[in-house]
């Protein structure tokens, strides 16, 4: 194991070197640099780990760490810090150091253990990053594939729909009832195929665009949706209300529109009451996350189906009862998850449904530095 020890105090350096040689089972080679410039020059030389004192003659504090990381991103760094500098040490961890050691408080065994673990952890992180990159690339490929296949499928679909229609128009009188029935079924099947392809395209299109995060005013999103669907609301004697104030979120506007559009739309669609009603409001704000609710007085969903309905093309009702491909909720869920959020539901048959949407709260800074919801 080759260790680069960046320490300007030769007394401290000698102590550390001795500790390492005593404690190590395997051979250790320690090279010392007493200033940052000297260290940076030699970092490319096949080292396994860097022991870095942050206070050097030519660089102070976290700047030292940052410059070292910049120069050698592939090397794990263990920071050596003084007794009073614990806060700085913690910050060093946040900035990418694998660990820190307080001078005067460690001996040989913990020192070499710390170094070993630092190296291992660094390797694991590297593998994780690589796996993530592969996963993202595979997902992107799949989405591009879904998009272009769905798109290409439209062409033969056009022929299918048109020519079956021409048959009905020109030759219906030559056919018997059975023949006309078959033709009708073909027409209906191609209409369904068209809807499914369009939903697939929507889903794939959602994934293709990387999220553009910005401050989103949820009230505005809901109001715009209701304005755009004014006719539809009037026709079904429906009402939609926003209850109270809705905080802004940090999200991608298009995806948020997808989520709320689908949930509100579903609340109005799967609804048998004389006055269908949907309310949107705030359920909770905790720890940087906002939870909204979308409540309807619709037909409700039995508990045994509540998980399934988020799957793509899952339908709970026969076609004759409610139109739709069943992709709306899958789209909503996917859109919310792409933002780090969640969608879930509470419902009982006959008692309406309440969908919950959890999204990151807009906190003014725009940074996402929190765990997934």
């Amino acid at each position: 194991m080759r260790v680069m020890l960046v320490e300007d105090s030769s007394g401290d350096a000698r102590l550390i070197e001795e500790m390492l040689r005593e404690a190590q089972v395997a051979p250790v080679e320690v090279e010392q640099a007493n200033c940052l410039a000297g260290a940076l020059e030699r970092l490319g030389d096949g080292f396994d780990v860097v022991l870095l004192d942050l206070g050097l003659p030519d660089s102070q504090g976290l700047e030292t760490l940052l410059r070292t990381r910049e120069q050698a991103p592939h090397l794990p760094i263990v920071v050596l810090t003084g007794f009073d500098d614990q806060e700085q040490a913690l910050q060093a961890l946040q900035l990418g150091a694998q660990d820190y050691l307080i001078k005067g408080e460690f001996a040989g065994a913990p020192l070499s253990r710390t170094i070993r673990y630092a190296i291992e952890r660094h390797q694991t992180e590297g593998m994780l990053r690589q796996t993530l990159a592969e996963l993202e690339s595979r997902t992107a490929e799949m989405e591009t594939f879904t998009y272009s296949v769905s798109h290409d499928l439209k062409e033969p679909l056009r022929g299918l729909e048109a020519f079956s229609r021409f048959l009905v128009e020109d030759y219906a009188d030559v056919l018997d009832d059975q023949g006309r029935d078959y033709l009708n079924r073909i027409a209906k099947a191609s209409a369904r195929l068209k809807d499914m392809i369009e939903e697939l395209l929507t889903l794939a299109r959602l994934g293709r665009r990387p999220p553009q995060l910005e401050r989103v005013n949820i009230r505005r999103v809901v109001e715009d949706f209701l304005a755009a669907n004014e006719m539809r609301l009037k026709e079904s004697n429906a009402e939609a209300l926003i209850e109270g104030a809705l905080p802004d979120v940090l999200a991608d506007l298009t995806r948020v529109e997808q989520v709320f559009g689908n949930l509100i739309g579903n609340g109005l669609k799967f609804n048998k009451s004389a006055r269908p009603s949907v309310q949107v409001g705030l359920a909770d704000v905790t720890g940087g996350w906002v939870t909204f609710f979308v409540r309807d007085n619709g037909i409700g969903i039995a508990p045994e189906y509540q998980e399934r309905i988020f799957g793509i093309f899952q339908r709970l009702h026969i076609r004759e009862e409610y139109e739709g491909t069943g992709a709306g909720l899958a789209i909503a869920k996917r859109a919310a998850e792409a933002l780090g959020g969640r969608v879930w539901l509470e419902s009982e048959p006959g008692a309406g449904s309440t969908f919950y949407v959890c999204l990151p709260l807009w906190e003014g800074s725009g940074r996402i530095s929190r765990k997934r919801a």
Partner: protein, 141 residues
């Protein structure tokens, strides 16, 4: 209604099904007495250069074999004779890059080919009504 029926429409389309569908849609929409069809970009340019043919209006698919629709559009706009010929790009694609490029190359409008015949017909009716009853077309040369 007369100009509607009398107009000579130039259709550049490679898919024979789509040609058949377009023919029927034109007829049902009462649009165009004469239909010139080019099945690929080369044929399109050749027919457009033919002095005996005088199209009033072009429906152009981007996806054409041999010479693609964008190139055909560029050459139409570069030509002396057809520089002002109205061209509506009609394509299966809804990709933004394709839409933008069509307008940048001088396409008058971009219409996405509808999947459902009824919509296709309605689109042609609106298109025909707009271009032949409402709009003024430059005289064909």
């Amino acid at each position: 209604m007369n100009r509607f029926r009398r107009a000579t429409i130039f259709l550049a389309e490679d898919n024979p099904d789509d040609i058949e569908i377009a023919r029927r849609a034109f007829k049902r929409a009462g649009l165009g007495s004469e239909l010139i069809v080019a099945r690929d970009g080369e044929e399109a340019l050749r027919l457009l250069a033919d002095e005996r043919l005088r199209p009033d209006f072009v429906l152009l698919d981007i996806k054409l074999p041999k010479i693609d629709g964008f190139e055909v559009l560029a050459q139409i706009r570069a030509s002396e004779r057809h520089a002002a010929l109205p061209v509506v790009v009609m394509s299966a694609s809804s990709r933004e890059e394709d839409v933008l490029r069509s307008y940048q190359l001088g396409g008058n409008s971009y219409v996405q080919k509808p999947v459902v015949f009824q919509e296709f017909m309605e689109a042609l009716e609106i298109m025909g009504s707009y271009w032949f009853k409402v709009a003024r077309l430059p005289r064909s040369r």
